[in-house]
């Protein structure tokens, strides 16, 4: 049985090219008609890949044409360069993909869920059989092992997610937090959206221009607060996001200290993403106040990214072990022409623990 994968990824092509070869729900079936005993399509925003188990060699061009939307008029030379990994290389590639090593942001975990979904879809349609079942179950094991035994997924790598992570480490359950967004810029909107995605429901927006505040409030499902009232809001909010274009700091130690004395017993997390900064750095010296400006958030994101890159070698070592074990676990080895021919099995025939 030949085990191989063919595909395009963010490393080799741009998004315009990839979207022309994104395949569709019928692709698995089309591929099986093209001579693939088993076929699984993994299509995400960063990659389009087909994993195949076949008794005979299926040319890359044939698979590429199954993926393309309108490739009948194109010659093979006109089509983008598809990569092809066979046998152990195919297993290694999938293990790297599932563990997030091949992702645009190293260590991201979304791809793991996408691979699981793709496998489930192929299993349900009957396109994935025992060959791909073994390969993907092993890939999921590898990804989990890499995640738990290395620090490849540690920390957030974007400013918005760093802010959300920090808020989580201060308040725990963010659903109960009250947030005030001061300034209605694009960065405020992005950070506010990141916080909403973590369950925040009490969101207020304040801006010098009331109209812009109203617009952003409507856009993100918040309520607008008149700009003159924002200092009073500091008595009850938990998180303050500032991004106004003010040339002088709006928040100083002297004017925040009296407000803090009146606050209910909770910390105040200030995310100052304005340049020039809206909060005087001395504000961070106040008890129970945690001030982060754009540079400190970026610095944490960069540290996380560096840490992730440092973990690549450890992750590759885990993957290499599993590639060897996977090769040994398949009777006759990978891509053995003499090995027994396996047919796709039904859902019921697969061990329950592996479903």
């Amino acid at each position: 049985m030949n085990l191989f994968c063919v595909g395009l990824s963010h490393h080799t092509t741009n998004v315009e090219t990839r979207e022309c070869f994104a395949g569709n729900a019928e692709t698995d079936c089309v591929l099986r008609q093209a001579g693939c005993a088993e076929a699984l399509l993994l299509s995400t925003c960063n990659r389009v890949e087909v994993y195949v188990a076949a008794q005979m060699r299926v040319p890359t061009e044939k698979i590429a044409r199954c993926l393309g939307r309108d490739t009948n008029n194109q010659t093979w030379e006109q089509m983008p360069a598809f990569y092809r990994y066979e046998g152990a290389e195919c297993a290694q590639h999938l293990f790297r993909v599932a563990a997030g090593l091949d992702s645009m942001v190293v260590g991201e975990t979304e791809i793991f869920g996408q691979a699981k979904k793709a496998y489930e879809a192929a299993r349900k349609s009957g396109a994935a059989g025992p060959g791909l079942h073994r390969l993907f179950q092993r890939a999921f094991r590898v990804a989990k092992q890499v995640r738990t035994q290395t620090e490849i997924t540690r920390g957030a790598v974007s400013v918005g997610s760093v802010a959300v992570d920090l808020a989580g480490k201060i308040f725990g359950d963010l659903a109960k937090c009250k947030v005030l967004v001061l300034g209605a810029g694009e960065t405020s909107e992005r950070t506010a959206r990141a916080l909403i995605s973590r369950g925040i429901s009490d969101l207020r927006v304040s801006n010098r221009s009331g109209e812009r505040a109203e617009n952003l409030a409507q856009l993100v499902g918040a309520r607008a607060v008149p700009f003159q009232q924002w200092p009073e809001q500091c008595r009850e909010i938990d998180i303050l996001i500032t991004s106004t274009s003010s040339d002088v700091p709006l928040l100083a130690k002297e004017n925040l200290a009296p407000v803090l004395r009146e606050r209910v017993d909770r910390p105040l997390f200030i995310i100052d993403i304005a340049v020039p900064r809206n909060a005087d750095p001395e504000v961070n010296q106040l008890e129970d106040v945690y001030l982060y400006d754009i540079d400190s958030l970026r610095s944490i994101a960069e540290q996380s990214l560096v840490l992730r890159h440092q973990q690549i070698a450890a992750a590759e070592a885990i993957i290499a072990q599993h590639v060897t074990k996977f090769g040994e676990s398949i009777s006759g080895g990978l891509n053995s022409d003499t090995g027994p021919v396996e047919h796709p099995v039904s859902e019921a025939a697969l061990p329950a623990s592996e479903l």
Binding site: F171, G172, P267, D288, S296, S299
Partner: protein, 212 residues
């Protein structure tokens, strides 16, 4: 086994007191850890338990009782409930250490690996407050029951015990009136437990040295 051999609660010398305290810390952790989902607290609690047990086993403090002491329910209640209170104070101190580590990282923007494993600040502070109240209530009960043991109480021990009670009362009052920032409460929990442990040592040591 020792309790069975003595025919009473095994709290007759420093060795037994330290072993009992280690078990009290473990007991309170098992009650508090799952409730507040402070699983990492175990990583901080285990070394303290090991330290207490190791000290008890290695130090020459297991002085055997020459005469069988008569059973005194009030004394046993006083000693055991006070030690469980110490267990709660120990856990509050451990949560205090965790709080200070996390708070320092958040203030200085220097996030180390442990940052990602430690619980959120508000959860830690909630646990500290409840542990303090729990320990304080038990300690008060232990202190009051001490007056019913039917034996003359050494003045120095009574003064020290009341001093520890006052220290914890002051921490709780300071927090209630919002005069103490959470950071100070966490630091005082560590100081309070260290003081309580020293007092415990003093009380048991003088009791052991006293002529019978």
């Amino acid at each position: 086994m020792r309790g069975h051999a003595l025919g009473r609660c095994p709290l007759t010398n420093l060795f037994e007191v330290f072993i009992f305290l280690a078990w009290s810390v473990a007991l309170i952790y098992m009650l508090v850890g799952p409730v507040y989902r402070l699983s990492l607290m175990g990583a901080f609690t285990a070394p303290l338990v090991v330290l207490l047990q190791t000290f008890a086993l290695l130090a020459p403090i297991d002085a055997p009782q020459t005469a069988k002491l008569p059973a005194n329910p009030w004394l046993e209640f006083h000693a055991s409930i006070s030690l469980v209170a110490y267990g709660a104070f120990a856990l509050a101190g451990i949560a205090g250490v965790m709080y200070l580590v996390q708070e320092r990282q958040l203030k200085t923007h220097q996030l180390r690996s442990i940052f990602y494993y430690l619980p959120p600040l508000t959860d830690l502070f909630g646990a500290i407050t409840r542990l303090l109240w729990c320990g304080f209530a038990l300690y008060t009960l232990g202190l009051l029951s001490g007056f019913f043991v039917g034996q003359p109480l050494p003045t120095a021990q009574v003064i020290c015990a009341i001093a520890v009670w006052l220290l914890y009362a002051a921490i709780l009052q300071g927090r209630h009136l919002r005069r103490l920032a959470p950071r100070w409460v966490a630091a005082l929990c560590i100081i309070g437990f260290s003081a309580a442990l020293t007092l415990l040592w003093g009380i048991t040591f003088t009791a052991q040295m006293a002529p019978r």
